[in-house]
Symmetry: C2
Subunit: 419 residues, 2 copies
Amino acid sequence: MEKNILKIGIIGLGVVGTGVVKTLFGFDNIEIKKIAVRNINKKRGVDFKNLTTDPFEIANDPEIDVVVEVAGGIDPCLEVFKTAIKNKKHIVTANKELLAKHGDEIFSLANENNVTVLYEAAVAGGIPIIGPIKTTLRGNSFNKVMGILNGTTNYILTKMEEDGLSYEECLKQAQALGYAEADPTNDVEGFDTMFKIAILANIVFRKKIDYTKIYREGISKITSTDIRFADELGYKIKLLGLAQKTNEGSLDIRVHPVLVSASSTISKINNATNTVLLEGYPVGSVMFTGPGAGEAPTASSVVGDILAIASEISYTDTILPSSRVRNYENAVQEDILSTKNSYYIAINAQNAIGVIGAIGSICAKNNINLQSIIQKGIKEDNTAFIVVITESAFEADIQNTIKELKAKNINVTSLIRVI
Amino acid sequence: MEKNILKIGIIGLGVVGTGVVKTLFGFDNIEIKKIAVRNINKKRGVDFKNLTTDPFEIANDPEIDVVVEVAGGIDPCLEVFKTAIKNKKHIVTANKELLAKHGDEIFSLANENNVTVLYEAAVAGGIPIIGPIKTTLRGNSFNKVMGILNGTTNYILTKMEEDGLSYEECLKQAQALGYAEADPTNDVEGFDTMFKIAILANIVFRKKIDYTKIYREGISKITSTDIRFADELGYKIKLLGLAQKTNEGSLDIRVHPVLVSASSTISKINNATNTVLLEGYPVGSVMFTGPGAGEAPTASSVVGDILAIASEISYTDTILPSSRVRNYENAVQEDILSTKNSYYIAINAQNAIGVIGAIGSICAKNNINLQSIIQKGIKEDNTAFIVVITESAFEADIQNTIKELKAKNINVTSLIRVI
């Protein structure tokens, strides 16, 4: 780095990349040397001439100090990162999927080469969360991190709640507004939240996380009936990423819809807003709320990381040990079957007569105590719709219960955990 | 600093000091060399032998790298800091009053001596806020910072709301629980919030703030009637510290009770919880919520600052320029009279006949449009209690209106700004 000007190359000039370029125009200690894009001739929101279609040009450019990646996807980013790191370049990235899947490899290589990898933008967009965990909150030992980490699903759930519409109708609205993609799987089935909670758990608990062991369930099976009954029972439904330490020191990490009390602060986080809640000692419980995506908010986090690197290497010509990424031991990860939760269970019984009695005895046999039960009449076709909230029970016992109920033609149509 | 052990001296071993000592026992790169206390023989929650009653012993000890101050008050802290800084020691402090009143002097001296002053714990206890503003959010230009910055007053307002009790009864409860001091003036009259918003505005807007120019009003005049009418109109009452940039670039900084919409997230922050809301570009709006005081949460922030210094000086033997405190230009601060707000006005009229008409014409004459008006009957003594919410109006016009109403025996018993 010469004359205190940090030279960066950017990979990706979509929504976030454009935001980053616009914001960096305000900082005279940062020079954007080159930007890699898919299509050079596309019309863009910023005027920048030095484009390339080859991201390896950036990874191999000896003048570039930092590679900023806001393109997404594994290929070619993983190979580009490896090349760049071997060339002693620092990395700033918003790529949650790449970090969740290949973080270990990338971080090890970065340590070997004395460079850092910063990724504030990979989780919860503009909300400062990785920085505070690594710095201001460093004196803490955490037992839980959880949050609403995906704006698309939170928007859909908010609309279902507010307008009484079905999942499908709200998804269409979200797609029309650009909140959801044409193929919404990554968001609505919880993959995006899974990558983010894997990244958060890694930093919060200082363990390597195997993302393939994270239990994952999306929101596509949530019905407007579930939303209505939850409301009646004093709950809202949110898709949460959750990672918590068990008494044995293992980690219980999962992504699924949750019934949260309507009086809790987390239940008020609506639309595309994200929130992250941390519990630890000595700090207690802290919550960070803000925009989880979008050009400008994500650019805020990317630029914060770039400025952090500029500030360290302008003075020491390298990155402080405290700013480097860490490689931790593997976490012991709990299986969902061994976790304990309360459950919301919606039941559609073919033959209404005696169904409450059957539910009661099957639950009791499986060590499940019921906390609330709602049945509103019997339908003309002699079926009944019943909603049950259980006390805390083992997931394995709940799964057995569902099987035994099914054998008696009592079908569980929704199973949602309650916290 | 030798062998990568940071040596610190602590001033104050009360609630927060005890929390800091307990937390630091978990870190083998930090050695507590000495602690200054008022009374050496007092029984304490931690076992630490090397006590002194003279804080200057710490400021002058050549082996101490960092002076950690958690005692509070101006005297002797200001002189102790100046001595310590001249002796090239870094400072970590939770002293909001000292920083709001003498920050300039302390920061200038720290810059001259190449040391840093960190104070995450001075604002909003355990909530990471100063760190994120200075680091992760550094690429932003902010236009507003506001928050619930005092747990005592938020606790009292929450109890008034929930239990329908008077201010005096809730204050007594808060005192009995240890949330309020025997002389509660510093909290309930808004001084504590004023110091904190002065510190936040300094960092957020990068300007020197004159705390004596901050408009300040506490909660001691809020009545249970105000709480009830606010509720009926869809609002909660909160004591806020607020600093915002005007269109002319000056700063509008103030502390006073505010009617906030009952549907806003800030209205749900109850009891002793604090929250800080930031608005800027590119990040948008972010909110940080958590415990604003207490042994453990405050210790979390103090320890975070100590570890930050340990990490920098273990490697570079000094503090990075980016971590140093800054001295900025003086802010231009707005007078409350030139600000625009909506207002909640409670009126007690001696003679009820024709009072609505009089209010209407006096308001109109002063350019004040009414948004809502509630009068519920006329009392037996021919007085009326009326509540008005205005549209946005100049404070100067509102103050004139109050004088003119008073001249007609129409008394304004409460005036609360609405945001």
